[in-house]
């Protein structure tokens, strides 16, 4: 789908860094309660035009509620939701300029693929000729031309997902809301569709909001990700920032795999942080971070692929180096994950890329190994 036109360079797109950028969708101190349960807790959030925004979190974190407030299926208990400067309060779903792709697809079972796609256009009283042209365009877009006259129950899961996408795109909405759109697809098809969706979003120049619990999905597609927990946003940042500079242990743990060592900050200045990690029985030297003061409890978080593993101790000065024993090995084909047990009983994971085609790896169970990392490989977290 139009990958050629885009070329190898991805556009530089960062309106969130531009103080003059106009918010497109804005949540202002939004709270949503269902009886005693607070689904959304005083949340503020700005999404920009043409952004591919992901709401990521475990089930029950409020991400779907947030999206349904944009669609109009839920009204905030307090606060405002604005779209393009207009307060959406009291506007029913059928008058809102957003369209949604439902998790269950919600295709009309008594209508053909064509009729499903044309439904929104007919509602908008578009002239018949234009409807036919748009339906044709959508069918081509999702490559379902030969299935136009079929009913949803005569299609495969992947085809149904495409019909749902075509139907939600047919009205060219200002905002497309995607509720776990790829959940029902198998892994191969899901990966394929992820790239197609990003291409589509860039080609059409629409604003996409996707709700997902799959971090890989969010990382692959989104410009920015909001990681949510218990109705609050833990962090909003680009995928790389979320991965490399998580704001909290919750975010660090939710996205990807990570080792977290608890400790006390021994010294902190503008050049580095020194932490005593009693649990690991070692001193950690890390890059400086904001609002870290000497004496406080903190957590050192490091991704397994940034931890080197070796059979001999490193020759340089022994900072950020700890010895242990291989406790377990997870062989995944492309990488191997070593679970190393330290003298204190704590476990640190190290991921090693399998560059060569060896069946027997040099490091194996019960080997005495040394783990090491550079001072800027991990982050110090205070919450």
């Amino acid at each position: 789908m139009a990958t050629k036109a885009l070329g190898p360079m991805r556009r530089k797109f960062a309106p969130w860094d531009d103080p003059a950028a106009r918010p497109f969708i804005e949540f202002r101190n939004v709270t949503k309660r269902f009886g005693d349960f607070t689904a959304i807790d005083n949340l503020s959030l700005i999404i920009y035009e043409r952004e591919f925004f992901a709401l990521l979190g475990p089930s029950g974190c409020g991400k779907t509620t947030l999206m349904r407030m944009v669609a109009g299926f839920e009204e905030p208990s307090a606060g405002q939701v604005l779209l393009d400067g207009q307060d959406l309060a009291g506007i029913p779903p059928y008058r809102r300029p957003s369209n949604m792709m439902f998790q269950s697809y919600a295709l009309f079972p008594h209508m053909s693929v064509e009729a499903n796609i044309a439904f929104g256009l007919r509602q908008a009283r578009m002239p018949k000729g234009e409807i036919d042209a748009r339906v044709e365009e959508m069918l081509n877009l999702v490559k379902l031309k030969p299935f136009a006259r079929r009913r949803p129950d005569q299609l495969s899961g992947g085809q149904r997902q495409r019909v749902a996408l075509a139907r939600s795109l047919a009205k060219k909405p200002k905002v497309l809301l995607l509720d776990e759109p790829l959940g029902a697809l198998d892994k191969k098809l899901r990966e394929e569709t992820q790239f197609e969706l990003t291409d589509l979003q860039q080609t059409l120049g629409l604003t996409f909001i996707i709700v997902t619990h799959d971090q890989e999905e969010a990382m692959t597609m989104a410009d920015r990700i909001a990681v949510m927990d218990h109705g609050r946003i833990e962090q909003i940042a680009t995928p790389a920032e979320i991965y490399e500079q998580p704001a909290s242990r919750y975010v660090a743990d939710f996205i990807g795999d990570i080792n977290i060592l608890e400790g006390r900050v021994a010294a902190a200045d503008s050049a580095s942080i020194r932490m005593e990690c009693g649990g690991a029985g070692t001193t950690v030297l890390a890059a400086p971070a904001n609002s870290v003061a000497a004496g406080q409890t903190a957590w050192f978080a490091i991704r397994p692929e940034k931890v080197s593993i070796a059979l001999a101790p490193p020759t340089e000065a022994a900072v950020n180096c700890v010895g242990g024993e291989v406790w377990d090995i997870g062989y995944l084909g492309d990488v191997s994950i070593y679970h190393v047990r330290l003298a204190t009983g704590a476990t640190i994971k190290s991921t090693v890329s399998n560059h060569t085609r060896m069946i027997e790896r040099p490091i194996t169970w019960d080997d005495k190994v040394w783990l090491s990392w550079t001072p800027d490989a991990g982050v110090v977290l205070t919450r």
Binding site: G72, F73, S98, N99, F102, A106, F108, H110, Q123, Q154
Partner: protein, 316 residues
Amino acid sequence: MSGGPDNGAAAPGGRAGRRGARWLVLAIPYLWLLVFFLVPFFIVLKISLSMTALAMPPYVPVFDLAKGIDNVVAGIRQFTTDNYVWLIEDALYVRAYLSSLWIAAVSTFLLLVVGYPIAYGMARAPRRWQAMLVMMVILPFWTSFLIRVYAWIGILKKEGLLNQMLLALGVIDDPLTILNTNTAVYIGIVYSYLPFMVLPLYAALERMDDTLLEAAADLGCPPVQAFWKITFPLSMPGVIAGCFLVFIPVTGEFVIPDLLGGSETLMIGKTLWAEFFANRDWPVSSAVAVVLLVILVVPIVLFQNQEAKRAEREGR
């Protein structure tokens, strides 16, 4: 029964035994239909082809298998279609059939209009109430049908509850004449047959996916339009089932028009009763019954053929 354990190796005859069990399961309902439906039907058909006689039973020929096969063959030779010709020649029967079909059609329509909102409300009610609501629809069955129809006489008669209430409220000055009119028949039918309309409608509406309505709203469809474009078409199987379930028995209804209707109420059930009990003309009343059956079976068969073709076209 030699059903035997499930593992075929241990029981050599197991496979045949299981097949035998399957046949038995299939055979029981068909045997039931044969004994209690097909055999009586053929008896009625036979009587409808006989002639009236002042005898016991009141028709000839009478088959006596004890007198041998010749007696049966001789009897069959005497069969006549006179009774059917009589049904066509006497305008009374044609009018009774047409009137029955008309009353059944109007009743079915009224039941749909009354029953749909009830079923819709039930399906939309909170889940924990639904079982109780279904129970309440079925509850009238716990009392005899006949008693409930008699109760309507007490409500509808000139000095009945309804008139007393309307007079007391000052809505009317003179009591209304409802009992022994077609209006009373319609009231009785709608009341008695409501569960048969509501339950299939409820079943169809209850399993409808609510997100379809959200999807319709999301695509710009206000709730009332969404009802006609999504909910109603999807409840069609329930509508059709409900209509058949009430139309067929109402066409042959006897008790309600007899108790609540008047001289103007012409229904084939009443005619049948009169032929059978008042005239003691078994052959003609049997012919009336056979024709009624044909009238009702033909549309069902046509409908089922249509459905089968549609299913085939959709590749299901």
